[in-house]
Every structure is written in structure tokens, then in C-alpha cells.
């Protein structure tokens, strides 16, 4: 007779297993009492029942993709167990090119996955912003801290001088348009005064239309090695988004909300000692501040602080999902009402989505998704036209809040035409908004007739319509001499995408062969129709209908582009320890000359998984050891219509036709980037320590350079041509640690390190600098790339120096002489960036945070240069102290052994030119800007399932959270915020990151909310 334990000692334990990342029940988890055969598998809602267990016995919970957990049975009969996704899971499956799920360990390239829940937790309206710091090698810059700002994503550096460096966005397997509206589509673009040049406006990058709450996961493919199967648009990397699907089982309703307050934590500062004027003399028509000191009894206002206020945001998300093993569905709705720190800015966004997944029979299943976005952004002007500049330039002797006369007209301080717009007037009376309606769909069919064959076909459309309305008020400084200006434009974007492939799989002994072959067709169409008018008949009615016919202009822009591609990929896996992949793709693009429109690119990669080799399997401490290497090529086609000449209708008197700026180039070819990467990945002690290191180098040749300025001897101003060679290389490290892993307390840490190098090695026609003129937003500075320098330089006109490096001084007035050749004045590329993610779990409490740090990299503080040159900066308070500018006189002796040292004394205050014309922007490039920024920090509490089960049975989950975004910024940068783009994300090439002129900083946001599931 066997020994029977006392009946009192055995009991039945019930409980829930919960996914710690989503707070939802986790079905299919294996529960085993350690050392016994007693076990169970969790049900659809995550519940389980285990009979005959003893107190003190250890239960082991395991589930693929999650970290295993051991729990000792105590006195309680109910258990609640949180399983955390194993971010390092060796068996983890992630989505890669073509939407194919692959085992992570087999990948020959560096791929990063971010879970949808981590994105949601950051409470960002534009999900792109949630990725900053989470992916090594990926940099995100926002155009402003105001709602609806565009975000520019650059992965592994600038690989194109004049084309887009944005990655391709893929949602549920097909491209998702991320275009940012450009002011070139406006009818004012052809009129030199009113033209906005992408400098004074901002429009959302349209990937922001995705509802973060719908995101299941985001996979980032970084280089051509990983993306070549996606073809021509993915040469800068790809962001692959998988949206949520319903799960089989009981239906579920989830509701979450968030209420937040945003506020400015750092205010700009100006001097309030000297008043308006020049040369030490008061002049109240001047908006320079080189006048006499304010009288001691003057009433001075601090206009800056009251201009900002707290912004209030509310968000609600509701989703329903469920289904059977044949059909599952998910329906979701999102609503966001976003407030800003100033008047005149805000956003309202509504998302609706439907997803349906079904199995028709044993060899056919389908997937269907439809998403609708309605987005309204109320914006303000940017840079020179923006309220920040007007706010800073406003005299402290005047109360800026009092911006209207009693009769409601603009209160002016002077008759001067150079009077700045009162910032309140600017944001309240100018009107500037964008409405977007977007509908996207992906329908896919998977045909799986035999075990070795799978045929996948996907068809989708992506359609959106933008309405842009930009009113410059008739009384505003921007437009009063025009009697008001109005741009009104509708832009329609339409993409039709088809992708299909066949997948053959077969195992031969230890060799797994997987072959895919297929084709894609991408068809893009863009059409905008725009009207512009100036001079309103009735100044109070802003509409194109209110403008005399002779002062209206229209502009229609149609752009079409089609790309047809075929691809093939062979994947060989030998005994699970060696994986070799060969890829090839050929594209035909409509934007190239017809007889030269085909281009191919190969790729190859391998992964050697040492830990799968029998010898290494003996080391129990070694969870994974892997060596990988990859080679890939990417090609990029030119923008449409560069090949054939086209005339443009002219707005001069009488009209007519003439060639535009850019000459045709019938010899265009696709630009080529080849990239190599090598990496190792090691995980130790059941993945509690993990290190993933990647080094890459990519070289781009035959760069397509658009808007290349030429001698007018060509008969044109600009050209698009091939030429230009550059390389980028970088080191990416990802460290994962689980320092503490106890039953009730767990600490996970992940760090992303990124360092990049780059060099522009060649430009055509002996050209020394290439720049994008849109970035010429301030003074003599722009994003000029110079041969022999890195690809991220800023260029400017520096002080002229002698061979010895001394500044040359004008012998007549004692002020420095400026060079006339554009030179590099700074490099925006940081020494390195480091993102640190920490997550602490204590019982049902979770604290997670992302710290974004950067070391080095230059930022142009143009705002400060403006403040100095207008006498507003505190740096100018010593203006009456005589100075002798350090340097040598430009008197012909400057390059001799005995140059004349400058001894000309000047009093800056009486010589406004000292500040105004002779202080070079190079002095305001802040070198080696470092920062530590708390991007987001979240504290959440999950109400225990057991509590819910006893108190409110119908509630399946309940959690509360508080999230702070951009909580603090520690930096040596003296301006407001070093991460803001000078323009918006529509600007191509190296863009305008690191150019700070009148920008609004990222505000601090504090969000509260709860999530409930029924």
C-alpha cells in the first residue's frame, strides 16, 4: 500500500495566469507541479484548476515567448500569476519582411521588435514618438512640441542627400503612406512673397494616423540587408506594424482612457534692462533692443510666461473582440482630444477599425482589416512666422496680452512695417488647420493546400484626403500689405498595393528548405488642387469666394508612380544551428527612363546558432550564442517627372509657359546602396543576461541628387542627376538584464547603444556643398553637406581667418570679417545615443520607464543668435563694456610672421553692427550637446483577478495607471529643447534636425487613466 498524504495537506488550487504586458488572461499556459505529473493548461480566459497539490509545492508556469515563473503554493487556494513576455525569448517568433513570422534566432540581420503595449503605455498620440530610445540605430525628431507635429524617423543615418530618408511603413503586410504634406502643393508656392517653403508651417507625418491602441507589435528592420524584399521604398529601413486581431474564445470588451495635462517646464528668457532702439538711442518703431535703459519707474511686463498655459487632453479607446476557432473579429474605436500649451493649437482624432480573421476550410484562411481615421489639427505658424519669435521680440514695456483695440482690430505699437505680429494675435487671428480622412484596407488570403506549399495573396488600398487651410489674417504682419492671404488646398493620396507569393517548404534530413517567390505591384497617386487668394473683399470673411477674381491663383499637382517588383528568397536551415538566406528582387519603376527602368538587388545572410550545436548544448548557462552576417543592396528610384522636360504655366502678366527650375535628365538611373552587417548575440543564465551587438557599413553610390543647383549656363537653375557617394557605419549594442527575478519582484533592464559614423566622399561637378534650401531658415546657416565631412553637417559662413586660424578684423571698424564660402559649422551626429528601459514588477504594481540619453552632436541655437543680434539676450547686458575683438587686422599682413594684433576698441551698444552683422552663427552652434531625458515613466496597478472574481465577476481586468512623458530633461544645451526639427518632416535629405529657431519644446505631460475589460 502506498503512502497516502494526509487529506488535509492536499488541496485544489485555482487561479489566473495573466499576461503582464496586457493584463489579459493568457490561455494555453502550461502549469506543472514541480517534480510531479500533476499539471493543467490554462483556459481561454487564463484560468486554471489544479487538483491534488500540496502546500509548499512549487508550481512552474511556462509558455512559449514568456519567461517561466515558479510559484510556491501557500495557504491561499487562489493564485494569480503574471507572466512577462520574454523579450529575449529564444523561441520567440517575430514578423519580418513580407509579414513572414520567423524564429528570431534564425535571423541573419539585426531586427528589433517593440510590443504594442509598450507603445500604448507611453500615451503618445503619434505612435512614432513612442519608439525613440527603444530601437538602437533609430532616431526620431519632432517638428514641435505642439499637437499634430510631424515626426521624422531616421534609421542608421542619412543614406540619401536629397531624397527621403524615412523608412517604409508596412501595416498588416502592405505599405502605409507616411507622406508629410508639402507646401509645394499650395497655390502660393509659385508666388515668391506668399510662398511658405516648408519653413513656416507644419503638417503631420501621416503614419501618425494609426491608432496606437490597435498595434499588436512593431518590428523595425534596419538596413537593406533586412528590407531588400520590400523593394525600392524600403532602402531606409522598414517599420512593420501588425495590428491586433480578435482571439478565439469568449468575447471581450476593453475600455481604456487617459486624462492628461501638458505644460512647459522651461521658458525662454530675455533681458528687460534696455528698451527698443539702435545705437544706444531709443526708437519705439524698432524691434531691436539697443535703445536706452528702461527708466527705473517703467512698468515692465513679463510677457513670456503668461503666454503659456496647461493643455488638457483626453483619450478614450473602446474595443470588442472575440470569435470562434473559425472566425474571429475585433472592432475598435479611439477618440483623442489633445490640448496644447498655447492658444490656437490642438488636435482631435477619431479612429475606427475592424479586423476579421477566418478559416474557410482546411486549406484556406483569410484576413480582412479596415481602418478609418479622422484627424483635425489646429496648428500655428513656425520659425520666423511663429508666435515664439513674436513673443520674444515683443517689447517688455507693453502688455502683449492686450492685443486688440477696443473695436476688435489689431493693436499696433508703431507704424513700422517691421513690427512683429503680436503672438496672441498670431495664434488667435491667423487660422491654420488640417483635416484628414483616411481609409485603409488590407485583404489577404492564405492558401495552404499541402503541408509543403503556401500561397499568400494580399490586396489593399490606402486612401486619404487632406484639407489644408492657411489663413494669414488681413491685419497680421504676415499679410497686411496683401490685404490678407488664404491658402486652401485639398490633397488626395491613393495607393493600391498587391502582393502575392508562393512558399514551398520541405525538409531533407536535417536540412529545412524554404523557398518563396512572388511579386508586388505598388501604384501611388497624388493629386492636390489648391487655391490661393489675397485681398479679402470683406476682411471678416476668410474664404476664397471672398477674393476678387484677379487676385486668385490655383495650382494643381498630380503625381503618379508605379513600381512592379518580383522577388525570391531561399532559406536553408541545417539542423537548427545554421540558417542561410539568399534573397533577390527586381523592380521596375515608372520614374526612370523606360528603357532603363529595371534594377535588381541581391541579398544574403546567415545565422550560426552555436548554442544549438550539440557540444554547446551541454552548457546549461548558455541560453543562446549566435553569430550572424548579412549583405544587402538597396536601390532607390528618382522622384517622378525628372526624365522628360515639362513647361510650367507662368503667373506673369499675360501668362504663358516656361521651363521650371529643374532641367530634365534622360540619363537618370536608380541610386544604389550596399550594406554589410555582422553581429553576435549571446544570452546567459536562462536569458537573464543578453547582449546583441551589430556593426554595419553601408555605402551609397550614384546618389540621385534633386534640386542640385547649377550654373545657369545650363539654362536651368536646378538639376536632378546621379552622382555623390557616401558611407555610413555604426555600432549597435543591445544589453538585456534581469537583475532580480523573484516571485513578487522582478526587475528588467534593457539598454540600446548606438554610435554612427558617416562621410560624404564625392559630389558631382566638383561641387563642394549640397544643401536643401528649405532648411535655410535662419541667417547664413543650412543643412549643407560638404565633401569630406559627415553627412549630417550644418554649413554656414564662418569668420574669415588667417592661415594661423586667427579671426581677421576689419581695420576700419574693428569688427570681424565673415568668410564668403560655406563651410561646415557643426555636425549634428552624436557621439552616441543610449536608451535605457527599466521595468519593475512588484506584485500587481508595475513601474516602467524609458530614459533617452545622448552624448555629443551639435545643435544650432538660432533663437539665441537672434536674441543677441536684436539685443534681447542677457548676453548683451554688458553692451557698454568696451571690447577688443580677439584677432588680427586684415591689413595685408595677416598671413605674415607678424600680423597686426587687433587693438581697436569698440563699445558694442553704440555699434549695433557689432552684434547685428558681425557675430557669426558658428558661435551659436552649441557643440557636444548631451542630454538625459525621461521620455516616459509609467506606474500601473492591476487589480488582482481574484479580487475581481470575488467582488465584480463580470469585470475581467481592471488597472489604473499614471504616465509622465518628457518628465525632465537634463542637458548642457542652453536653448529650450535640442530635439526639435527646424522645418517639418517633409524636408528631404538630412532634414533640419538640430536647428532650433523659435521652436516649441516638448512639454511635460502627466496622464492618468484606467483600463477595464469585460
Amino acid at each position: 500500500m502506498l503512502f497516502q498524504p494526509a487529506a488535509a495537506q492536499t488541496k485544489t488550487v485555482t487561479g489566473f495566469v495573466i499576461d503582464a504586458s496586457t493584463n489579459e488572461g493568457l490561455p494555453g499556459v502550461n502549469v506543472v507541479a514541480k517534480g510531479t505529473s500533476i499539471g493543467a493548461i490554462t483556459r481561454a480566459d487564463g484560468s486554471f484548476t489544479l487538483n491534488n497539490v500540496n502546500q509548499g509545492q512549487v508550481l512552474v508556469f511556462t509558455f512559449i515567448g514568456y519567461l517561466a515563473k515558479e510559484v510556491t503554493v501557500g495557504e491561499a487556494n487562489r493564485l494569480e500569476v503574471n507572466l512577462s513576455p520574454d523579450i529575449l525569448s529564444v523561441g520567440e517568433v517575430i514578423v519580418t519582411a513580407l509579414g513572414i513570422k520567423e524564429e528570431r534566432k534564425n535571423l541573419g540581420t539585426a531586427v528589433t521588435e517593440v510590443k504594442g503595449n509598450d507603445v500604448i503605455q507611453t500615451q503618445r498620440i503619434n505612435f512614432v514618438d513612442a519608439l525613440q530610445g527603444r530601437v538602437a540605430g533609430m532616431t526620431i525628431n519632432q517638428s514641435s512640441g505642439l499637437p499634430g507635429a510631424s515626426s521624422q524617423v531616421v534609421i542608421r543615418g542619412i543614406s540619401s542627400l536629397s531624397q527621403s530618408n524615412e523608412p517604409l511603413y508596412i501595416v498588416d503586410g502592405l505599405p502605409y503612406n507616411n507622406r508629410t504634406f508639402t507646401t509645394n502643393s499650395l497655390a502660393s508656392a509659385t508666388i515668391s512673397g506668399p510662398s511658405l517653403e516648408n519653413r513656416y508651417t507644419d503638417f503631420t507625418n501621416r503614419a501618425a494616423d494609426i491608432n496606437p491602441d490597435d498595434i499588436e507589435s512593431v518590428t523595425v528592420l534596419k538596413g537593406p540587408e533586412a528590407t531588400s524584399l520590400y523593394g525600392v521604398d524600403a532602402s531606409n529601413g522598414a517599420i512593420i506594424i501588425t495590428t491586433k486581431r480578435g482571439k478565439a474564445g469568449t468575447s471581450r470588451i476593453n475600455y481604456s482612457n487617459s486624462f492628461s495635462i501638458v505644460k512647459i517646464i522651461k521658458y525662454p528668457d530675455i533681458q528687460r534692462v534696455y528698451g527698443q532702439g539702435n545705437y544706444g538711442m531709443t526708437d519705439n518703431t524698432s524691434f531691436n533692443y539697443f535703445g536706452e535703459a528702461y527708466a527705473s519707474d517703467s512698468v515692465l511686463y513679463n510677457n513670456i510666461k503668461p503666454f503659456f498655459h496647461n493643455g488638457f487632453t483626453q483619450r478614450h479607446n473602446l474595443s470588442m473582440d472575440g470569435g470562434t476557432d473559425k472566425v474571429s473579429y475585433r472592432v475598435s474605436m479611439g477618440f483623442n482630444d489633445v490640448g496644447a500649451v498655447i492658444d490656437g493649437a490642438g488636435q482631435r482624432k477619431i479612429n475606427l477599425s475592424n479586423a476579421l480573421h477566418g478559416t474557410l476550410n482546411k486549406w484556406l484562411n483569410y484576413d480582412f482589416s479596415l481602418a478609418y481615421t479622422n484627424d483635425f489639427v489646429d496648428g500655428v505658424f513656425k520659425s520666423t512666422y511663429g508666435p515664439m519669435i513674436g513673443l520674444l521680440r515683443w517689447p517688455s514695456g507693453d502688455d502683449a496680452e492686450n492685443y486688440l483695440n477696443p473695436d476688435g482690430t489689431r493693436r499696433k505699437l508703431s507704424t513700422s512695417s517691421s513690427e512683429f505680429d503680436n503672438p496672441y494675435f498670431n495664434v488667435n487671428k491667423n487660422d491654420y488647420w488640417t483635416k484628414t480622412n483616411r481609409l485603409t484596407n488590407v485583404t489577404s488570403l492564405n492558401i495552404n493546400p499541402t503541408e509543403w506549399l503556401l500561397v499568400v495573396g494580399k490586396v489593399g488600398f490606402d486612401f486619404y484626403s487632406n484639407q489644408n487651410y492657411i489663413l494669414r489674417h488681413p491685419e497680421s504682419n504676415l499679410a497686411y500689405s496683401y490685404g490678407g492671404m488664404l491658402d486652401d488646398a485639398v490633397a488626395n493620396n491613393r495607393s493600391l498595393n498587391i502582393e502575392y507569393y508562393a512558399n514551398f517548404k520541405k525538409e531533407f534530413g536535417g536540412l529545412n528548405v524554404d523557398v518563396k517567390a512572388g511579386s508586388t505591384v505598388y501604384d501611388y497617386s497624388y493629386k492636390s488642387v489648391a487655391g490661393f487668394g489675397q485681398g479679402f473683399l470683406d476682411p471678416n470673411f476668410a474664404s476664397l469666394n471672398n477674393i476678387p477674381p484677379d487676385k486668385q491663383r490655383t495650382r494643381s499637382v498630380l503625381q503618379q508612380r508605379r513600381v512592379v517588383g518580383v522577388f525570391g528568397v531561399i532559406n536553408l536551415n541545417y539542423n537548427r544551428f545554421l540558417n542561410v538566406q539568399l534573397t533577390a528582387r527586381n523592380d521596375w519603376s515608372s520614374t526612370l527612363p523606360l528603357d532603363n527602368n529595371s534594377f535588381a538587388y541581391p541579398g544574403a545572410n546567415f545565422a550560426l546558432i552555436l548554442s544549438e550545436i550539440p557540444y554547446f548544448k551541454n552548457f546549461s548557462w548558455l541560453s543562446l550564442a549566435k553569430i550572424r552576417g548579412a549583405y544587402g543592396m538597396a536601390r532607390k528610384d528618382p522622384p517622378p517627372y525628372g526624365v522628360y522636360p515639362a513647361l510650367e504655366s507662368q503667373a506673369t502678366t499675360g501668362g504663358g509657359y516656361a521651363y521650371g527650375f529643374t532641367g530634365p535628365n534622360p540619363l537618370l538611373t536608380a541610386e544604389k546602396t550596399t550594406s554589410k552587417e555582422a553581429g553576435i548575440e549571446v544570452r546567459l543564465f536562462r536569458s537573464r543576461i543578453g547582449l546583441d551587438a551589430t556593426y554595419y557599413k553601408k555605402e551609397s553610390v550614384d546618389q540621385i541628387i534633386s534640386n542640385l543647383r547649377l550654373s545657369y549656363g545650363t539654362g536651368y537653375v536646378l538639376s536632378v542627376m546621379n552622382g555623390g557617394t557616401m558611407w555610413n557605419s555604426g555600432l549597435e549594442l543591445q544589453l538585456n538584464l534581469v537583475p532580480v527575478d523573484k516571485v513578487d519582484f522582478k526587475w528588467e533592464l534593457m539598454a540600446n547603444f548606438n554610435k554612427m559614423w558617416s562621410k560624404l566622399t564625392y559630389l558631382p561637378t566638383g561641387l563642394k556643398e549640397f544643401y536643401n534650401s528649405d532648411t535655410w531658415i535662419y541667417g547664413n546657416t543650412r543643412n549643407g553637406a560638404i565633401t569630406g565631412e559627415s553627412t549630417t553637417t550644418l554649413s554656414g559662413l564662418r569668420y574669415l581667418r588667417n592661415n594661423n586660424g586667427d579671426i581677421l578684423i576689419n581695420p576700419q571698424n574693428g569688427t570681424p570679417v565673415r568668410n564668403t564660402v560655406w563651410e561646415a559649422i557643426g555636425d549634428r551626429n552624436p557621439d552616441f545615443t543610449l536608451g535605457i528601459i527599466n521595468r519593475f514588477n512588484y506584485k500587481n504594481l508595475e513601474l516602467s520607464m524609458l530614459i533617452d540619453t545622448r552624448r555629443g552632436g551639435d545643435v544650432l541655437n538660432a533663437t539665441e543668435h537672434m536674441l543677441v543680434t536684436t539685443g534681447l539676450s542677457n548676453q548683451t547686458l554688458n553692451r557698454y563694456e568696451p571690447v577688443v575683438v580677439k584677432g588680427v587686422l586684415q591689413d595685408g599682413l595677416e598671413n605674415t610672421a607678424n600680423p597686426t594684433v587687433n587693438n581697436i576698441q569698440i563699445i558694442p551698444a553704440l555699434n549695433s553692427g557689432y552684434y547685428y552683422s558681425n557675430i557669426a552663427e558658428e558661435d551659436f552652434v552649441e557643440k557636444d550637446v548631451n542630454w538625459i531625458r525621461m521620455k516616459d515613466i509609467t506606474l500601473s496597478y492591476n487589480v488582482p483577478k481574484s479580487l475581481l472574481a470575488s467582488k465584480a465577476k463580470f469585470v475581467k481586468g481592471f488597472s489604473v495607471f499614471v504616465t509622465a512623458t518628457d518628465l525632465f530633461l537634463i542637458t548642457n544645451y542652453t536653448g529650450l529643447d535640442p530635439v526639435i526639427l527646424g522645418n517639418n518632416a517633409a524636408v528631404l535629405g538630412s532634414g533640419s534636425a538640430g536647428m532650433d529657431y523659435g521652436n516649441f519644446p516638448l512639454p511635460l505631460g502627466v496622464n492618468f487613466g484606467f483600463k477595464v475589460g469585460f
Binding site: 509659385t190 508666388i191 515668391s192 506668399p194 486549406w363 492558401i447 493546400p449 499541402t450 506549399l453 500561397v455 495573396g457 500689405s481 502575392y500 511579386s519 505591384v521 489675397q534 484677379d550 491663383r553 494643381s556 499637382v557 498630380l558 503618379q560 508612380r561 508605379r562 512592379v564 518580383v566 521596375w588 515608372s590 526612370l592 523606360l594 527602368n597 517627372y641 522636360p645 515639362a646 513647361l647 510650367e648 507662368q650 506673369t652 502678366t653 499675360g654 501668362g655 504663358g656 509657359y657 516656361a658 521651363y659 543647383r709 547649377l710 550654373s711 545657369y712 549656363g713 545650363t714 539654362g715 536651368y716 537653375v717 561637378t765 566638383g766 556643398e769 547664413n780 559662413l797 560655406w822
Partner: protein, 531 residues
């Protein structure tokens, strides 16, 4: 299953072979045509041509002391050069190379194929004129290598090479404008021609006019200059004020408004110069000029109840604050205190939003003839041409600029005023005619619109020359201003080529012509070097 697979393969193959070529052939820009009917090129080129002249005269007008700046030591008053990185002074470059450039070549090519000889001739005349203006403005320019496909750097040709080409283009223009075969049609050409509405005869006279100017520009070249050729070219050119080349503007938006008009607000700070006011008010010539009320903005000062009765000329570099506020001149928009122009400002003289702007006139050519005859020693012809010139110049001003202005109405010149003035400035005997009188009258007539010609004239006389045995300086009363530091003590003789076109992208070609020197603008152009 096999069916599905073969369907996919078949559609795929179809797309890639048969359909693909057509499917991808969508790269011809749908936003603009590749070629248009010939006259549609003409209007924008004429508008850009005049804009180039106007824009650059915003600088050269200070060199010639047509106007002076309202504040002190203005760089152009000092005969300085635009800031090194500025495109200022490069607008004719832009209009000739780009705005005319391929458009003009295409218009000539299409017209030639269609036997529209009038448009071909107009094309050649405009090309000749354009090349002449840019070489007079800049010195050496890109000529032979211009518009050659595949070239991205361009060598410069010297001024003599350009002049040879200009004269040859004039001959081609005249040859085509003489033809009436083919499908020469004033109706067709007139749809684009904003200068002569397609009138072939007037264009032919204009082509002769360009030739006359070009031949006369070489007056300092003993071997090249032939006054008889100048005289005969003038005689084939314009016959009266009705042949004048004028161009108009719609004047509603900045793109279609007169560059000189108040809407564009480009001349807000330009004020009449002391030199010019002295020429007009009788100080220099002894005879007050009745055109003064039409051409010179007065001061707000009301003298004996009469508005617009007092004039002040601003001395270059001194600014207008040398006068008390009431005596500071209105600017050319007719606004006090250098007021800002707008689309509702009426304007004054040439400075109106929709006004007509002269490009070449009958009186101008008569003064050219007078100069050539005078140099030849044929003073009888010289006096006749001079007399014609002054008379027609007065008629021209009177008929074009009388009427409402911003500050008040100015009346036309009466017959009596004209007679009195002619009596004062036209000598009874040819022996009393002077080169100075001819050039001064030409200067007055070209005031504020003929800056390219005036500047070249003044450079031909090195600003301060005295002609032959005459006792007064040709530009009587002209005082050379203090000079900008970068001039190294020398007066200005040329504009640097356009910065963004040449200094940034073609600087290797500038080196051989000395274009990188900081005082390049003081280098004397070939046209005026005596040889």
C-alpha cells in the same frame, strides 16, 4: 490548387511582359506640357526680361546717381558691390540664361519649323539684346558653351566675342523680320507679344535699334567704332514715339505687378539724387525742365499754397536727414518719410503697379545718332537728331506720366513750356552743341528706366570725363561719391556674375578672368577701354 497557382503565374508574367511597358509609362509630367504653341513662350520671356532690367537697376541706378538712398553710406551709393553671397545684381543673368534660355531656343526652333519668320526674328532680336545687356553688366559671360547639354561647368567668353555674336544675331533678326513669306501673322504673334502686339515692322526697327546701341557702345574703340554705321542703324530703326518699346503689367499680385510699383515696394528708400534734381530745376542747365513735375517726386513742403512746388535732391551717402522733415523728398511712390507702398498706392512717374515701362525709345535712339554724328564731326546731323530727341522726349514724358499721383495730380506739359525749354537747351547753331548736352539730355530721358544704357554711357565717359575741348564735364554737375572699402579707391565698372549661379557652382571658370578678386567689380570692362 494548380489552377490558382497557374493563374498567379500567368497574371504575374502578363504584368511583367506585355502590360508592364505601358503600365509604367506614366512619367511624363501631367502638370505641364512638354511643348506649347510658339507664342505662349513669348509673354513670360518679355516680362522676365523687363524684370531683370528693373531688378538690376535697383543697384545700378545708385551708381548712375539716378537716385540716392534715404540714409547714410548706403553700399550702392558708395559704388560698392552687393554682399559677396548675394544674388543682387544677377537678375538679368537669371532672365537671360534661365527665363529666356531654353524657352527662347524652343520658341525659335518651333517657329522656324512652322515658318513663322516674324517670331524667329523676334527671338533673335531678344537674344541679341539679352547678351548685350549681360555683357555690359558683367563683362565676360558664358556664351559659346551656354545651354550645351551635358556640360555643367562653363568657360567665359570675353566681351568682344559677345559683341560679335550680338551684331550677328541682330542681322539674323533683321533678315527674318524682313520676310513676309511662310505664315507670318501679327494676329498669332500678337497673342504673346506684349511689346508690339505682333507688329513685325516695329520689331524690325527695334532690332535695328539694338544694333545701333551695340555699335555705339564701342565708341572708345578706334578700330571698331564706325559712326556712319551707327547713324544708318538709327535711321533704319524707330521713326517716332509710336515705335517705342513699352511693356505693361496687370498690377494685381506681386507676380504680375510692375517691379517698380508700390505693390512690390522695391524702391521705397530710393530718393531723387541731387545730381538729377540739379539737372531738372535749372541749377545746372540754367533752364528749368518742365518734366520735373512728371519725373521728380517733390517734397511735402507747400510753398505759397502750392503743393509739389519744392524739390530736394539727396546727395549720395548723406541721406535725406540733411533736410528738415518738410523738405525731405517724397519717395517714388509719392509717399512722405519713405512710406511703404502697397497695392492701393497710386504711385508716381514709372513707379506704378500697372504702369507701362519703357525698354527702348525713339528719343533714346536720336540721342545715339546725335552722339555718333557729333563724334564724326557732322554737327548739323547731330543737332537735328539732338533737337528731335529732346522734343520727342518731352512729348514722351508728358503723354505717359501726367495725371493722378499719390500726392496729387500733375499736369501735362503745355506747348509753351515745351517751346521755352527747347529754346533754353537746344542751341540755335550747331557750333554751340556739346557732347555734354547730348549725354545730359539722354540721361534725363532714360531716367530710372534706362539704367543699363545710362550706366554704360557713364562708364564710357569714366563718369567724370570731359569730352574733347569742352570745358565742362560731360556729366555736368556729377560728383563722384566716396567709395566703399572693397573698391580699393576705384569706381565701379561691372557687377560680379550671379552668385548662386557662378560663384557657388562655376567658380573654377571665374578664376581665369579674375572674378574671385574682392575688387573684381572695379575692373574696367572691355567695351569702354580705349584702344
Amino acid at each position: 490548387m494548380k489552377k490558382i497557382l497557374s493563374f498567379i503565374i500567368i497574371t504575374g508574367t502578363f504584368l511583367l511582359s506585355t502590360g508592364c511597358e505601358d503600365y509604367l509609362d506614366i512619367n511624363r509630367n501631367p502638370n505641364g506640357p512638354q511643348e506649347v504653341t510658339a507664342y505662349l513662350y513669348l509673354g513670360p520671356m518679355q516680362q522676365e526680361f523687363v524684370a531683370g532690367i528693373q531688378w538690376d537697376s535697383r543697384f545700378t541706378g545708385y551708381y548712375t546717381q539716378n537716385y540716392a538712398y534715404y540714409s547714410t553710406n548706403y553700399a550702392y551709393d558708395l559704388m560698392g558691390t552687393p554682399a559677396w553671397t548675394s544674388d543682387n545684381g544677377g537678375q538679368m543673368w537669371r532672365s537671360v540664361y534661365w527665363k529666356m534660355g531654353w524657352n527662347l531656343s524652343d520658341m525659335i526652333r518651333i517657329s522656324q519649323a512652322e515658318k513663322r519668320w516674324d517670331l524667329v526674328g523676334i527671338g533673335y532680336a531678344m537674344r541679341a539684346w539679352g547678351w548685350m545687356l549681360v555683357t555690359d553688366h558683367h563683362g565676360p559671360i558664358i556664351l559659346k558653351e551656354a545651354f550645351q547639354p551635358g556640360l555643367y561647368q562653363f568657360n567665359y567668353d570675353n566681351e568682344n566675342v559677345v559683341y560679335t555674336e550680338v551684331l550677328s544675331l541682330c542681322d539674323s533678326a533683321i533678315k527674318y523680320l524682313n520676310r513676309t513669306d511662310g505664315i507670318v501673322s501679327a494676329t498669332f504673334t500678337g497673342k504673346g507679344d506684349q511689346i508690339f502686339a505682333g507688329n513685325r515692322i516695329r520689331w524690325k526697327r527695334l532690332a535695328w535699334g539694338v544694333k545701333a546701341l551695340a555699335l555705339n557702345h564701342l565708341s572708345n574703340k578706334s578700330t571698331l567704332y564706325d559712326p556712319d554705321k551707327v547713324i544708318s542703324a538709327v535711321d533704319s530703326s524707330m521713326t517716332s514715339n509710336s515705335d517705342n518699346a513699352l511693356i505693361g503689367f496687370l498690377g494685381t499680385l506681386s507676380t504680375d505687378a510692375n517691379f517698380h510699383g508700390p505693390l512690390r515696394d522695391n524702391f521705397r528708400y530710393a530718393l531723387p539724387s541731387k545730381f538729377m534734381v540739379n539737372l531738372m530745376d535749372g541749377t545746372t542747365l540754367g533752364t528749368p525742365d518742365p518734366r520735373i513735375r512728371l519725373m521728380i517726386p517733390p517734397t511735402p513742403n507747400i510753398v505759397n499754397g502750392v503743393a509739389g512746388a519744392k524739390y530736394s535732391g539727396v546727395t549720395p551717402t548723406l541721406g535725406y536727414t540733411t533736410y528738415p522733415a518738410a523738405d525731405r523728398p517724397y519717395n517714388f511712390y509719392g509717399l512722405a518719410a519713405v512710406g511703404q507702398g502697397s497695392n492701393t498706392t497710386t504711385g508716381f512717374y514709372l513707379f506704378r503697379n500697372a504702369g507701362k515701362f519703357p525698354l527702348m525709345t525713339y528719343p533714346e535712339l536720336q540721342f545715339v545718332k546725335a552722339e555718333a554724328a557729333f563724334r564724326k564731326g557732322d554737327k548739323t546731323t547731330a543737332l537735328a537728331a539732338y533737337s528731335n530727341g529732346v522734343s520727342a522726349a518731352i512729348d514722351f514724358a508728358s503723354s505717359n506720366y501726367a495725371g493722378a499721383t499719390t500726392w496729387g495730380t500733375v499736369t501735362a506739359i503745355t506747348a509753351g513750356e515745351k517751346t521755352a525749354y527747347l529754346a533754353g537747351v537746344v542751341p540755335a547753331s550747331e557750333t554751340n552743341l556739346t557732347m555734354s548736352a547730348i549725354m545730359i539730355q539722354k540721361y534725363i530721358h532714360l531716367y530710372a528706366w534706362g539704367c543699363p544704357e545710362t550706366w554704360l554711357d557713364m562708364r564710357r565717359f569714366h563718369y567724370t570725363d570731359t569730352y574733347g575741348t569742352e570745358t565742362t564735364q560731360v556729366y555736368n554737375g556729377y560728383v563722384q561719391p566716396p567709395l566703399a572699402a572693397e573698391n580699393n579707391g576705384k569706381v565701379i565698372y561691372r557687377m560680379r556674375p550671379m552668385y548662386n549661379s557662378e560663384y557657388v557652382w562655376n567658380s573654377a571658370s571665374l578664376e581665369p578672368i579674375g572674378g574671385l578678386a574682392t575688387d573684381y567689380h572695379t575692373k574696367v570692362i572691355w567695351q569702354v577701354i580705349p584702344e
